[in-house]
Every structure is written in C-alpha cells, then in structure tokens.
Amino acid sequence: MADLGYYVRHPASSTTGAASWFDDDRPLGAGRFQIIYGSNALHLLRENPLRTLGAHPGSLNGIWRTTATGTTGATPSSVQWGRAPGDGVLLVDWGVHHVTRVGDTASWPRLRCDFRWAPEDGGDTLGAVLVVVPVSSWAGSTVPIVLPTSSEYYDATTYTGSTSYADASLTVALTDTLLAPMHTAPAAGYPPVEPDEQGERFAFRALLGFYNTSDQNAVGRRGSALGLSLFLE
C-alpha cells in the first residue's frame, strides 16, 4: 500500500467528464488508485483519531491546598480531590471520550494534557496529576471514590524554585487496561427515541488535579495553572 504520509489532493469525487480521475470507462491506473485511495485513507486513519478533547481557562491564584510536602513525588494522593471549586484546588473532569487505534496498527493514541503554571512563592511546590479511569458502564458516569494509584493510570509533575510561568505537559499512554468497551445506545430527545443505531466504543475518563505545598490561602503563597488543554497524540 502506498504510504506517502500526507494527503494527496485530487479532483472532487463529484467531478465528471474529462477532469475526473475516476469516471465511467476511464482507465484506472493501479498507481493512481493506490496513492489517492490507499495512501489518503491510511493518512486519515492515522490523523483523525488524534483529536483535541477539551480546554479549560485555568485558575489564577486559586491553588493552595495539598496533602503533600516534598518538591517531587507527586501522586494522586497528593491532591485533595474532594474539594469544591474555589476551595484551594483546581480539579478538572475532562469527561468521557472514545478512542480508536491509530492507523493500521494496534496502537492506541497517547493522552496529553498541557498547561502553564507558576507559584506565587518560589519556595512552594506546585504539583499536577492526570489520572485515567477506564469507563465500563454504559452511562460511563461513575468516578471511583478513590482514584487508581498504580502508575500506569496516571502521570504527575511538579514545579518549584521560580515564580515565572513555565510550560508543563502530562502524558498517559492509553492501553487496553486503561480502556473499556462502553455500550452506547443514544436515545435522543424527549421523550427519548429508541435509537436505530447503537454499538460499542472504547472509552476512558480523564481527571486532572493540582496542589500547592504552601497549603495556606494567603496572598503570595498561592499558585496558578492556566490554558489547560487535553488532546490525543
């Protein structure tokens, strides 16, 4: 199969007559077929699963709680996941998303979360944890009371020693363990209409939490995380 690694432009499928590359009784070259059909389909099969999933404006000086004390070693237990918005934490439910394997391989895409952040006091440590929860129920709405602590379910990072904004990136390699088949029967409207199509999708739910070792709500001891985005790569 031809594999050029980009999409080759071609006359629109609706084109007819002399300008058409694929019209009645026109010779069909195998090379043209491979490039336009095979390579293009393969390229889209690689690119289309890698989509943006969400964005969040972030929190300016709203991060100050933690259960952690060190400058490294962030884990899910470092974050106070039970707090309400505005109570010293930034917690993000990125929602339920389906994924498909990339290209003609058996590989799942990688989940990535980027943002910029800074503590008000360079002596404090900011921490961030991205956790992936497999979704197995049809509703997909259940978040565990206690989040997974095995390292394959999360990525974490810390930032300390400066008050300047810095880039941060968290990634979790999606695997069969982190995904689960989720039956979906989309009954739309009200009253719900029995769907004439339904099926399975492999889905996960992603959660993001921040902490700040200052652990005090005082001007000069808080932290910020801004411009949060979640995407597949």
Binding site: A12, A84, S141, E233
Partner: protein, 372 residues
C-alpha cells in the same frame, strides 16, 4: 438506500502494504480494505465538542457555545456533572439552540431530559471521596442530524445553556459528538458499503457503490473539521469574564498570563505534506458585547499562533449596546512545520477597542479547523 450496522469496536484496520503494486490492476480485497479504512476515518471520527467548567449562578446565567455539526455526526451527547455544597442543593439547566434565524426552545422534543429546565436535586460530596463520586450527572443526547432539518439557515449554531444553581455547582458542562454505528450509502457523509467492493465484482464509478462513493467517503473524512477550542463564560458583565477597555492590543483581563495573553496548546491535524513552513487552515469566532462609550466605537480581536501571518485579526466588531453578538468567522492558520520535534501549536487572544470609553466583553470562543 442501504444501511448496515458499522462497528469497529476497538479493532485494528488491516491494510495490505505489499500486495497492491504499481502497474498491476487492482485486485483481491484491496478496495474492501480501503473501504474499511475510509469508514473508520470518517465514522469513528466526528470531532465537534464544547465545554465549560465550574458553573454556578444563583440567578440564571447563560453560557453560549458555538457549534458546527460534523457532516457525519448524528448524535451530540450532553453531560452536566453537578454537585451540591449542602443538602437540598438544586440545579436547573435550560437549553436553547439557534442558527441565528430559527430557535429551538427547551420544551422542544429535540431537547433531552435534564436540559429542559427541570429542577434536579444534587448532593454534596462525601468526606474522603472525590468531588465527582456522588455527583449527579444530567445526561442527554440530541439528534443533530434531525435538528439540522429545522436549523437550516446556517451551519453555525449557538447552544445556550441557562444555568441556575442553589448551593450547587455544575462541575463540567460538555457536548461531544458520538461516533457512528451505521453506514448509509445515500447520506452525504454516511460511509461506504465494503461489500460493494468484493473481489471479482466489476469496478464501477457509482455514487453509491462505486469508486466515486469510496472517494467521497475519504473526502468526507478529510473535511471533518477538528475543534481546537470551544469554551464559554457566562453572558454576565458583572462576572469575571474576558474583557478589555484598552485602545492598543493587549491580553484580555481574566484571560491573561501576567502581562501577556493566556495560550492553549493544540495538536493540529496534518493534511498537507509537511515542509519547513507548512501550516493548516483554521477559523475562529467570538461571542462579544461592546457596550458603554459613545456607541460609535468598534473592537478588534487577534488570534495568535505560530503561523507566519499571525496574528489573525477580527476587525470592525460593531457596538452592541447591552446585547451579545457573534462575530463573523475569521480565517487563521496553525503552524505544522517539519522542523517541529513536538507537533503542537498554541492559540491565544488579544483585543482592543477603537477609542476609550466602551468595554469589550468576550463570552465564548470557537477555534475550528477549516480544511477544504
């Protein structure tokens, strides 16, 4: 018309890399394999979505999202995850959808339960549990294909959620297009029947069962536009939403990072062959209000990326008084140069008003791919 169930169910697509050869005729299952790949690229991949976080308003406030339906998308799944701060907390969500000409109200049969202004009682998180563990989830599905029959004046829709909370938060409000589980060989972006390309069948140029349909499916997968940013703030000028009174371009208040603008990292979809200068097409629009001043002022909004022509400027946004209005769509670019070791770009915004006096407020931003 023929419809058949479709389901990839997490499986890998098989494409034979060695069997087809230049100067040899297409044979065997090559076309069927490509049909499978085209269906997967199209039907698994609607990419429309929008979201906002931590919504709360004791008196009704409205979050409005820009939404453009992907051609193959039929179902838009809505989820509002709600929690209380005390017992007896309640949440109400009222959804209306408009194309700018026709409006579908929350009482319409297209609007699902949970988004019809019902009062939902929500409970607080339990000590020691995550804030989401005992949250109430309002979940519903819109048949956007059916909705498009009514909202036909424009493909650019506004989904407005009026939210009223009492001792409660909507932790997240999200709309996500679902993949498809059915092939329809007559729908514009309905996929292609692999069985039309069985070995030993004649090669035809059929709009439903020939190579034209196969190519149309690949095209539809190409023109399924990614959403890179679709978020909203309350349409409430007393809230901490992005705004500016400045007469030179600067970051918006509440959308700044220190003295510069706040930016989001996105991974652009690559269509064209990557060179050192390659870029991909996007477009953006904002929901804004320009009020105060003499009433004759205008405003402009810049979108910044790493593309060569950045910033891309929406100019001449008219004074709106106390109303909110969508800007037109502005074409822009994202950088995808081959020199990038990390294939991402960033998106950020600056704005100005033409003369001192009025305030520009932004309540929604939508950045969407614009691949032709």
């Amino acid at each position: 018309m023929t419809t058949v169930p479709y389901g990839r169910i997490g499986g890998a697509i098989t494409l034979e890399h060695e069997a087809p050869r230049v100067a040899r005729t297409v044979r065997g299952a090559h076309s069927m394999n490509i049909a499978d790949a085209a269906n997967a690229a199209l039907l698994d991949g609607p990419a429309g979505h929008f979201e906002a976080h931590d919504l709360a308003s004791a008196s009704a406030a409205t979050w409005s999202f820009s939404y453009v339906r992907s051609a193959q998308a039929r179902f838009l799944e809505l989820r509002a995850v709600c929690t209380g701060t005390t017992s007896g907390a309640t949440v109400r969500v009222k959804l209306t959808v408009t194309d700018g000409t026709t409006t579908i109200s929350h009482t319409d049969a297209l609007i699902p339960s949970g988004f019809r202004d019902e009062v939902s009682t929500v409970v607080p998180a339990i000590a020691g549990a995550t804030v989401w563990s005992h949250a109430t989830e309002l979940r519903g599905v819109i048949d956007v294909e059916l909705m498009a029959a009514t909202l036909s004046a424009s493909t650019s829709w506004t989904m407005s959620f009026e939210v009223t909370t009492a001792s409660a938060y909507v932790l997240s409000l999200r709309g996500v297009e679902l993949p498809r589980w059915r092939i329809d060989d007559t729908a514009t972006a309905g996929g292609v029947l692999p069985g039309s390309y069985l070995p030993r069948r004649a090669i035809t140029d059929g709009a439903q069962d020939g190579l034209q349909r196969l190519l149309a499916t690949i095209e539809a997968a190409r023109t399924t536009q990614r959403t890179y940013l679709a978020t909203a703030w309350p349409r409430d000028v007393s809230a901490a939403i992005p705004q500016t009174t400045g007469t030179s371009y600067a970051a918006l208040t509440n959308l700044a990072e220190g003295a510069t603008y706040r930016s989001w990292i996105v991974r652009p979809r690559v269509i064209a062959r990557r060179t050192s200068t390659s870029e991909e097409d996007v477009r953006f629009r904002v929901l804004y209000r320009l009020s105060g001043g003499a009433g004759t002022e205008t405003a402009s909004v810049q979108m910044h990326s790493n593309a060569a022509a950045s910033p891309f400027v929406l100019t001449g946004l008219a004074h709106t008084g106390t109303s909110w209005a969508w800007s037109g769509w502005k074409d822009a670019k994202l950088f995808t140069g081959s020199g990038l070791t990390d294939l991402v770009d960033s998106i950020g915004f600056k704005a100005l008003v033409s003369a001192a006096g009025p305030t520009l407020y932004i309540a929604s931003i939508h950045v969407r791919e614009s691949t032709s």
